[in-house]
Structures are given as structure tokens and as C-alpha cells.
């Protein structure tokens, strides 16, 4: 792969994380437990969609093959999406959704902060500075909810514990660098995710302590998303995400 193609791949990995998680949050529209959360979930989904758009547009420009943000977001095949498995996991219930958001935001907020501070690329630094503030809010919001559900009623605590059992094994993939990412790290374009681990561990330990949740031992960490190997849910997600552009190519509004 050329240097540009590698950079494009590394940027698209992050964009895919943002797009897919943003889409998952958008699935809550009209289904949130209370009106206040309806808006909070949509707000967070839109933040992520905005981050994805900025990254796709920039990746398309770097690639120089005339692919637009829409082409990248809507017109690739499943195996071409490089998001980590965590973000594509189903919403299930509010506990799963908020825990997934916490896991991701606890990683992505310091990641954006590091990109803003240290990337060799000015455009990425700009995107990161804005996204950092957005993710700081996601982190606070999801953290507060995880604490309240974990240390809440019998039912909320049970649902929160279920979510931890289900989702924790997907968190290891956040810290793995693909070949494209490894090159981007060497080039100074993006930070090494491993440098985020201590911060992430701290954040999760603090929230779990307050939430009276126990960190599970992960026997079989789940990975594959960065290689395009997704779970069964991903196909259903893409069917809905891509439907309009597949049915009405080039449709705008």
C-alpha cells in the first residue's frame, strides 16, 4: 500500500468507529426510556456522525480517487468497514447502550486529546480538538448513568452486570493497532492506542468502583473488526444504514 492509502485506511478505521456507534445511538430515536434521554442519545449520535463525516471527507480527499464522505459511509461492503466490534454491538437495553458508550468514550476522549496535541497533520488536529469536547460530555453522561444503574435498583444492577459480562471482552480491540495504524503511528499521524490504556483503566476502575460493579476476567477477547471480520449484527445494521443510498443512488436532501 502507498503511504496515502495507509493513512486513508488508518483514518477510516476511526471514522467507521464513529459512524457505526453513531448509527447505533440513532436507533434509539423514538424508543428512549424518557424524553430527556431521547434527546441525549440523539445528541451523542449526531456528535459521532459529525466526527465521522469530517474524517471521511478528509480521507476521501487524501485518497484522491474522488470518493466523497457519502461514498465511504454508505457504499462500501461489509468487509470494507474497519470499525472495532464494540461499536457494532446491539443496543439491547439502556444498560448495554450506556456501558458501550462509556467504554468507547473513555477510550476516544483521551485519544482525540492526544491527536489534537500530537498529530503531524493539521486537519486531524482540528477535527480532534472539536471532537475531544464532544467525547468529554459522552464520557461524563455515560459514566453517571453506569454509576446510577450499577448502584441502583435490583433490576438496574442486574442489567448493568449483564452488560459488563457481555461487552467487556470487546474492549481489548480498542488498544490493538492494525498494520495501517502501526504505520500511522510511525509516521506521527496518529498516536499509539496503547498509550491510552492507563487512562482508560483508571476511568473504568473509578466508575466501576462507584457503580459497585466488578471488572470481569476476560478469557477470550473478541477482535476482528479492524480486519473487516464483523459479527452477525453488522449486516443488519448496514442494511438499514445503506438502504436509502442503495435504493436511490445519489439521493440527497
Amino acid at each position: 500500500m502507498s503511504a496515502e492509502a495507509t493513512a486513508v485506511r488508518a483514518i477510516v478505521e476511526i471514522a467507521d468507529d464513529c459512524l457505526i456507534l453513531g448509527h447505533r445511538l440513532s436507533e434509539w430515536c423514538g424508543h428512549a426510556p424518557i424524553l430527556e434521554e431521547e434527546l441525549a442519545l440523539a445528541n451523542m449520535g449526531l456528535d459521532l456522525l459529525g466526527q465521522a463525516r469530517a474524517l471521511y471527507a478528509y480521507a476521501g480527499e487524501l485518497e484522491g480517487k474522488g470518493r466523497s464522505e457519502d461514498d465511504l459511509a454508505f457504499l462500501r461492503r461489509e468487509r470494507e468497514y474497519r470499525n472495532c466490534l464494540l461499536v457494532e454491538r446491539e443496543n439491547r437495553d439502556f444498560a448495554h447502550t450506556m456501558l458501550r458508550q462509556l467504554y468507547f468514550a473513555a477510550f476516544m476522549q483521551p485519544m482525540w486529546q492526544a491527536i489534537a496535541a500530537s498529530s503531524s497533520d493539521e486537519t486531524l488536529r482540528g477535527i480532534a480538538a472539536k471532537a475531544n469536547k464532544e467525547m468529554a460530555y459522552h464520557l461524563r453522561h455515560s459514566g453517571e448513568w453506569v454509576i446510577r444503574m450499577g448502584d441502583g435498583t435490583t433490576e438496574s444492577a442486574a442489567r448493568m452486570a449483564d452488560a459488563v459480562t457481555e461487552l467487556h471482552r470487546y474492549t481489548g480491540e480498542l488498544f490493538m493497532a492494525s498494520a495501517a495504524r502501526a504505520q500511522a503511528i510511525t509516521d506521527g499521524l496518529l498516536p499509539d492506542p496503547e498509550t491510552i490504556r492507563a487512562t482508560w483503566d483508571d476511568t473504568i476502575a473509578t466508575v466501576f468502583h462507584a457503580a459497585k460493579l466488578v471488572l470481569p476476567e476476560v478469557r477470550v477477547p473478541q477482535k476482528g473488526g479492524r480486519d473487516g471480520i464483523h459479527g452477525e449484527d453488522m449486516g443488519h445494521l448496514l442494511a438499514e444504514l445503506q438502504f436509502m443510498q442503495r435504493a436511490y443512488p445519489g439521493q440527497t436532501w
Binding site: 424518557i34 430527556e36 434521554e37 461524563r140
Partner: protein, 95 residues
């Protein structure tokens, strides 16, 4: 969620520095931290402000609507309480 677990809160937003907080609406939340977050999500989506206050609705003491006439009508005919009977020197300009 039951309303006992998520009581009603009144939300006040300050649109800009120097202005005062203004009541904008209400919402349900379990505690003040979540009420502030919800207020941010529900009432500041379009850049409405830079500061939020929330207060439990049950902590607000309100005047009795049925006592509105004794409360407020006596002020209606006391126009001399309005500061509109002064000559303002031209040099002062708009007040």
C-alpha cells in the same frame, strides 16, 4: 421510570454573561447531576446559553393563584410608583 425515582426539576438558563438566568422549562431526573445533564441536552441544543441552574420543583414556594387579586391588583392604580414623572436632562440620553 416512576416519577418518585425521577422527580420534576425546573431549569434556568443564562443566555450570556451579564444577563440573569431565565426559566426555560422543566424535566424529570433522578438527581441534580443528571438534571443538569438533561437540561444541557434538552434546552441548550441551539446555543441558548452558557450557564444552567436546576432546582427541584417541589422546593419552589409559589404564590396562591386564588389570592392573585389581593396580591397584585392594589398596585394597578399606583402609577406614581413608575419612575416616569421625572424630567431627564438631554445630556443623559437614553435611560
Amino acid at each position: 421510570m416512576t416519577t418518585e425515582l425521577t422527580p420534576l426539576w425546573e431549569v434556568f438558563i443564562r443566555p450570556r454573561n451579564g444577563l440573569h438566568h431565565r426559566h426555560v422549562g422543566s424535566l424529570h431526573a433522578a438527581d441534580s447531576a443528571l438534571a443538569l445533564q438533561s437540561a444541557r441536552d434538552v434546552y441548550t441544543r441551539r446555543g441558548e446559553g452558557n450557564s444552567i441552574w436546576v432546582v427541584r420543583s417541589s422546593d419552589i414556594a409559589a404564590s396562591d393563584p386564588s389570592f392573585a387579586e389581593p396580591n397584585f391588583e392594589p398596585a394597578d392604580d399606583k402609577i406614581y410608583r413608575h419612575p416616569s414623572f421625572y424630567e431627564i436632562p438631554d445630556e443623559v440620553g437614553h435611560m
